[in-house]
Symmetry: C2
Subunit: 144 residues, 2 copies
Amino acid sequence: MEDTHYMKLALAEAHKAAERGEVPVGAVIVCKDRIIARAHNLTETLTDVTAHAEMQAITAAASTLGGKYLNECTLYVTVEPCVMCAGAIAWAQMGKLVFGAEDEKRGYQRYASQALHPKTTVVKGVLAEECAVLMKDFFVAKRR
Amino acid sequence: MEDTHYMKLALAEAHKAAERGEVPVGAVIVCKDRIIARAHNLTETLTDVTAHAEMQAITAAASTLGGKYLNECTLYVTVEPCVMCAGAIAWAQMGKLVFGAEDEKRGYQRYASQALHPKTTVVKGVLAEECAVLMKDFFVAKRR
C-alpha cells in the first residue's frame, strides 16, 4: 500500500516530464515517511545525459539530509534504473529501491545485475502497467 | 603522445582533488584538439555521490557544445570509470575513452563490461603508474 502510494507520486513526476517532451520517468525519495526529493527526467531541457530523474533525486536527497549516504531512504522510480543510475544508487547505499516497469533495453539488470549495493532491498513491478503505458504512449507519439 | 599530454592534464586535476581531501580522480574532455571540460572528484565537498570527475566533465562538455552527444570527443580520466560513470559515458555516446589506472574493485569492467556504447574506442593504461600511485598514496595517508 505504502509502495503504491509513493509510486503514484513518482508517476505524477513522470507525467510532468512527458508534458515537457522528456522521456517520462519520475522519481521520489522517502526517508522515515517523509518525502525528501521529487524529480523527473530533464535530459533534453538541460542538454545533459546525466539529468535522469534518479540522479537528480539522489543529489537533492543528500543535500536535504546533509549526508551522502541514503541507507535509511527508499527510492521510488517509475522505470527500472539504467546502468548509470544503478551505479549512483549503489554509491548512495540506498536502503530500498522500488521500481515500476522493467526496461529490457537499457535497464541495469541486463548489463550490470550486480551493480547495486548488496544491502539494497529491491521491489519490482509496483504500478508497472501504468508506468509502462506512459513510456509506450510517449514513444508512439514521438514516432508520429 | 597526444594521449599522454592530455592525461597529464587529467592528473593535474586529480592532484587538485587530493589537495581538497577528495579521492584523487581527474578528467579532461577534448573535442577537435580543444579542451572543453576539466573536472575533479568533488563527492565530499558537494556531499553528492554523483559528483565524480567524469560526470561533471560530461555535463560541462555538453553545456559547452550545446548538445548532449559527445561522439566527437575524447574523455581522459586518471582511473577506470565506475559503473555510474560508464553508464553516463554510454549515454553521451563518447567517441573515445582513455583511462590511466585500472580499478579492480569499483571499475566498470568488473560489473558492467558491456555498459559502454559499442562505438566508443577504449584506450587503457596511459600513465597508469602515476595515476595509481596518486590513489594509493591518498588511501595510505587516510588510514594513518
